[in-house]
Subunit: 263 residues, 2 copies
DNA sequence: GCGCTGCTCCGTACGGTGTTCGGTGGCGGG
DNA sequence: CCCGCCACCGAACACCGTACGGAGCAGCGC
């Protein structure tokens, strides 16, 4: 007998729950109802575990246990942990709504929709801050089917607004580059916050003295932190400054475009 | 005796090299010349190991061995592995040259210098692609002394060009966000490339069929990859598209500024 | 009905990992 | 000369990813 004692359903052969005392007559039959595990299930559970306990809590053993399976069973559905992580990342991107290009010929509408795309992307990443710790390991994120879907929909948006394919690609790269970079920094902050287990305001007010001390030799940073930080943390101010950044980039894209059309 | 045999200098007590057969008379004295390890030494060696063998090769034991020390000795100089990584990241940022604000009142000069800053940052990150796998773990990169130095110098650059502190900060965030995000994606690509151990061209040409197959349902991506990828990989084309992205953002910053000054 | 084949699942084992703890011994200060 | 401090380190702990071989079930051809 393994450590899994007999008061649980024998994990290796799932069957509808069977309450009561185990005896030779009511003991569930050891029938395996078809492939008990599926890749999608595994990915979903991994995502849940990551959201709940963060990146360092994800181990094959723990994940297996959550699925009432052995750790090594996972390997029939997933090549290794890296592949699993790649799948999970793409699954998360699958939560992004696709941009609807309708009406994007109007530049004002187009601007709005681009901003929305970027904000959605940022929101999804920040909702799963472990993502950024994994970006670097996952070789080619942008080849996942879900990420491709998102890219295609942004390209379509650009095309409707009158961009050529290459222009569209560069614009998208600029927007997405900024979004990912910003989200990286923010997510790192959020993870640290989570690990500290404290409220953002409290955590920050504890950190502030240290920071102010550390910036003593840097007058501009010092001014920035001392005068602005209080305001900076107010609810949603990070959201606002992200949006302003995107707007800067959008106006850059438009400026480049009109310059090019003139030249 | 430990595994470290007697033909090496006894690791725990470094002394000038002592060739010849060990005997009671020429055996180096077991004098410990002051603290044998230093934090800087450890950080430097870690950085070297990371550059040489990548992130998954960095273990405390291996790092200790490289320094002729036991793994656990490191803990007197460094709280834990995470702290070590944070230190290493900041050390790398210390390699960035600081922007010289001279002449930045001229907007053309300013533009040039901003671009240079961004390019330097990207170059440094890409020279150490393991950095991006660590960004997410290191809670607050931007509080490291070296990163602060870099920030301060960029803010100074902006200030000389006539920006207010808040404007300057937002502009810097936009530039740096884009830089980091782009570098993340590129570094992930480079790491995967490294792991494959192949030339970029070869590796890409092997990957291409798969990609083209995968983009079958996405006409714009499909066109992008089939028509552009050959050209895209030509020497330095990633550099060029990065620079174009930065220029887009710069012109966005200027556009926003003139709009604001008018309003 | 029977046996074969293939597939899913998993216990075990291996070679690592980060980090704690309790020495140990050289060194600086008294 | 001795004592206390502290950098160093060996051993141990708990855990990790994953290779491997075996076990049991499903569906198949006969």
């Amino acid at each position: 007998m393994t450590a899994k004692s007999e008061d649980e359903t024998p994990p290796e052969h799932r069957v509808e729950a069977q309450p009561g005392i185990a005896s030779p007559w009511n003991r569930p039959q050891k029938r395996r109802t078809q492939p008990a595990l599926s890749r999608d299930q595994i990915v979903a559970e991994a995502s849940a575990l990551l959201d709940a306990e963060g990146i360092e809590a994800l181990s094959m053993r723990k994940l297996g246990a959550r699925l009432n399976a052995g750790a090594t069973s996972l390997y029939t559905h997933v090549a290794n942990k890296d592949e699993l992580l790649a799948l999970v990342v793409d699954q998360v991107f699958g939560q992004l709504p696709l941009a609807d290009p309708e009406g994007a010929e109007d530049l004002a509408v187009w601007r709005e929709k681009i901003l929305e795309c970027a904000e959605n992307t940022r929101t999804v990443i920040l909702r799963h801050p472990w993502m950024v710790t994994v970006f670097g390991d996952v070789g080619v994120v942008y080849l996942g089917p879900n990420w491709m879907r998102v890219s295609e929909s942004m390209l379509t948006l650009m095309e409707v607004a009158g961009f050529g394919l290459l222009e569209a690609n560069e614009a998208m790269s600029a927007i997405m580059g900024y979004t990912i970079g910003t989200a990286c920094v923010e997510a790192a902050w959020l993870s640290a916050l989570n690990r500290s287990g404290q409220d953002e305001q409290v955590w920050l007010s504890q950190l502030l003295p240290t920071v102010i001390e550390a910036t003593k030799d840097f007058p501009r940073l010092h001014r920035l932190y001392t005068t602005e930080v209080q305001r900076e943390v107010n609810e949603g101010s990070r959201d606002g400054s992200f949006a302003r950044g995107i707007k800067v980039i959008i106006s850059g894209i438009e400026a480049q475009r009109t310059a090019q059309h003139k030249g």
